[in-house]
């Protein structure tokens, strides 16, 4: 009996050792094109180190009341709103309020433009002022932002058609914004009456990734920095709660996150969907291809990218007009969101799509059908497609 049990023991030992030599029981990496996070190709060793430091600050650093969180806040870390560097979830959706036209925001004094609806213990969260126009905004994906930043103003301006001169019903225009004092315009920037072209944010009211990062630290987490030194609770200037070097490393991280890679490129349904996308004029706003110019980061310079966006403002009709706006945009105008990585959004949103600016669309089809204004014609054409064609179009969008 003892011999047999000892034999079983040896058998079990050999089995375990056998398993140890089998790589399949160690979780393998997902396909590279199934992930949104990761650096762009071509970074040098020093850039890799900066990327890793920024990654740690973005995804690992959690703020607490002791390290500056709040007192009023939306999230306790950058990663809280951008799981896996993807789109956000209604849990992390933020609310901006106060501005209804290009004349400015009369609600800045009572805490605008962003509502900090959470507070550390002992503090009362901010309340939406009565009568203030507002919009809910779901955090966007982070991927490929450095490439978008490196697209020259001239290219965006070339796509603009504010008077709809070509009569296609699509009249994109830039959001001309004032720069905060800590920013300087990039070389070759275009200006209009001292204002510059914004390209980030749902209303394209953010100039570059430094402004986006400094704003997010301040307005989302309640962290003062050299760039945004005001406490969101008291409104008073306070000492920086995050190192300037850390902010810059996070900016570098965002600049060097890779662009989403398309999937199922050989699938005939994807090819058919791509043709339909062009055929029903989605490409009028969702421009498939842009070109970057010179960049201090060599890996971003002079590349052709496929974000499916023109980064311009378009009137999306009364259905998507929340009555709130930023910069010179009208309240019905929204920046064309890049579609790259759309098919991976669910993996960052808890297995469920939350699309459009506030996550109201729970599927790609619902998002298409909610397009109005300049996109109404394309939406109408989508409705006329057969069930198979609609499916092909969605398969294509999910392959991006």
């Amino acid at each position: 009996m003892q011999n047999s049990t000892f034999g079983m023991g040896r058998l079990a030992l050999f089995l375990l050792l056998g398993l140890a030599s089998c790589e399949k029981i160690l979780p393998l990496a997902p396909e590279e094109n199934a992930l949104l996070d990761g650096p762009v190709e071509g970074l040098n060793e020093a850039e890799n180190l900066r990327f890793l430091r920024g990654d740690a600050a973005f995804n690992t650093e959690v703020f607490t009341p002791a390290t500056g969180l709040g007192p009023l806040f939306v999230a306790s870390s950058c990663g809280s709103c951008h799981a896996g560097d993807g789109k956000g979830h209604p849990f992390s959706t933020l609310t901006r309020f106060g501005q209804s036209d290009s004349s400015g925001n009369p609600f800045l004094y009572p805490g605008g433009p962003q509502l900090q609806h959470r507070a550390i213990p002992g503090f009362v969260p901010e309340q939406l002022p009565p009568g203030a126009p507002f919009a809910k905004l779901t955090p966007p994906a982070n991927t490929g932002l450095g490439f978008l930043e490196a697209v020259p103003d001239a290219e965006l301006f070339a796509w603009a058609d504010p008077g709809d001169a070509n009569n296609d019903g699509i009249s994109g225009r830039p959001n001309w914004i004032s720069l905060p004092a800590y920013l300087s315009a990039r070389p070759g920037a275009m200006a209009l009456n001292g204002r510059f072209i914004g390209r980030f944010g749902k209303k394209a009211a953010v100039y570059d990734l430094l402004q986006q990062t400094a704003n997010a630290y301040n307005q989302d987490i309640g962290i003062a920095s050299l760039f945004e030194p005001f406490d969101t609770y008291s409104g008073q200037e306070i000492d920086p709660e995050v190192a300037t070097a850390t902010v810059r490393e996070v900016v570098f991280y965002l600049q060097t996150l890779k662009a989403p890679q398309p999937r199922r490129t050989d699938d005939p349904d994807v090819a058919a969907g791509r043709q339909l996308f062009t055929q029903i004029q989605c490409t009028g706003c969702h421009r498939p291809e842009l070109r970057t110019s010179a960049s201090p980061i060599a890996a971003l310079a002079n590349r052709t990218i496929y974000p499916y966006s023109d980064l311009l403002l378009h009137d999306m009709g009364p259905g998507l007009d929340d009555g709130y706006t930023e910069g010179s945009a009208l309240s019905a105008e929204w920046r064309t969101p890049p579609l790259w990585g759309l098919g991976l959004s669910k993996n960052a949103q808890g297995g469920q799509y939350y699309l459009l600016h506030d996550g109201r669309a729970r599927s790609i089809e619902e998002a298409i059908l909610l397009h109005g204004g300049e996109a109404a014609e394309s939406g109408g054409q989508y409705r006329k497609l057969s069930a198979i064609e609609k499916q092909q179009l969605i398969v294509f969008l999910e392959s991006l």
Binding site: G9, A12, L13, I25, P27, T64, I120, G350, G351
Partner: protein, 405 residues
Amino acid sequence: MIKSIFLTVLLAGFWGASGRAQTRIPADSSGLALNMDAAYNRPFLQIGKIPVALGGYAEMKAAFNQTDGISEGFSFQMQRLTLFVSSSIHPKIKFLAEIEFEEGAKAINLEFASIDTRFHPLFNLRGGIIMNPIGAFNQNHDGPKWEFNDRPIAAAQMLPATWSNVGMGLFGKHVCQNWVLAYEAYLTNGFDDQIIANAENKTFLPAAKINSDRFGESFNGKPLMTAKIAVRNRKIGEIGLSYMGGVFNKFEEDRLRLDKKRRVHVWAVDFNATLPGLKTVLTGEWAWVQADVPESYSQQFGNRQHGGFLDLVQPICRGRMLGFDKAVLNLALRLEYVDWNAGRFRETGGNIGDEVFAFAPAISFRPSAAQTVFRFNYRYIRQRDLLGNPPARTAGFQMGMASYF
């Protein structure tokens, strides 16, 4: 300073022991020792007639882990070196202290240092640094007692084993033939508001361990209550029910109100049993945590958690092996689960993720009964984030050893 003196005494004791008669005091094998007895139920070394017994254990491991295709490579870890000393000051008064060095000297903790005074078997007074009797693992955590290289996630991270505090209370037991009924009840210093304000970005009871001031004064002036009852049958096993709770936040300072009193409650059930015939040993623990997280705070910090583990250990061979007369070879399996944030999102009504599941098959070899263990295990961990996105999968192999000395 105290730690240095403690170490000096211990090391001097061990050095002195080399020239004197030594008596090894084995652990209790009556079958009636409970988890609450674990602190004293260890092998000690008695030196001559000195009324002091010394002991300790060490555990280390080598590990290779990989998360979704990315590995940090192969690594060795000196998990902990623990030294303990006990003394019978009087037939009814005894003292035991335990100091632990984790990962070299990265963390040095005085985990236990209490004076026990016996008035009656049902009425004993304990005072000093005590291990709060929540669940079983917290009191019965010595590495050589377990067949796995890592501590259970629920016991070590959800319940903050090893969780010690300064305080005092009562314990006792009643023995009736094969049955033992026991209780413990203590008031100690307790948690602080770091349990909902920490770098883990979740409600995390072990965050309170960072505050070493808790051995000097209470964070908020409100004691933490810990109580446990346990029943053991010599032939069947033991079951324990325990509760720990109290105010965790600083609600007032200099008579100025800062917040309402916020409480944390922890309930746990633990058991261990040996199946007759097969001699399979089952050890398990499940616990529930409820914390009063402000409504206006982030749901990132959950107000309810639960989780536990189940260990199955099957001896498959006993006898002479590899030159050891009383060796035992075991197969073992551990199943673990923790839901760090039980509940639903206010915004969507959807389930909040933030959960971890793990299993670990293992082989352990004990060359000398319970004194020493060599162990090898595979461990697979599946961890979902707050939103319930596709899980991060970590797996790896661990090989280690632990021994009392």
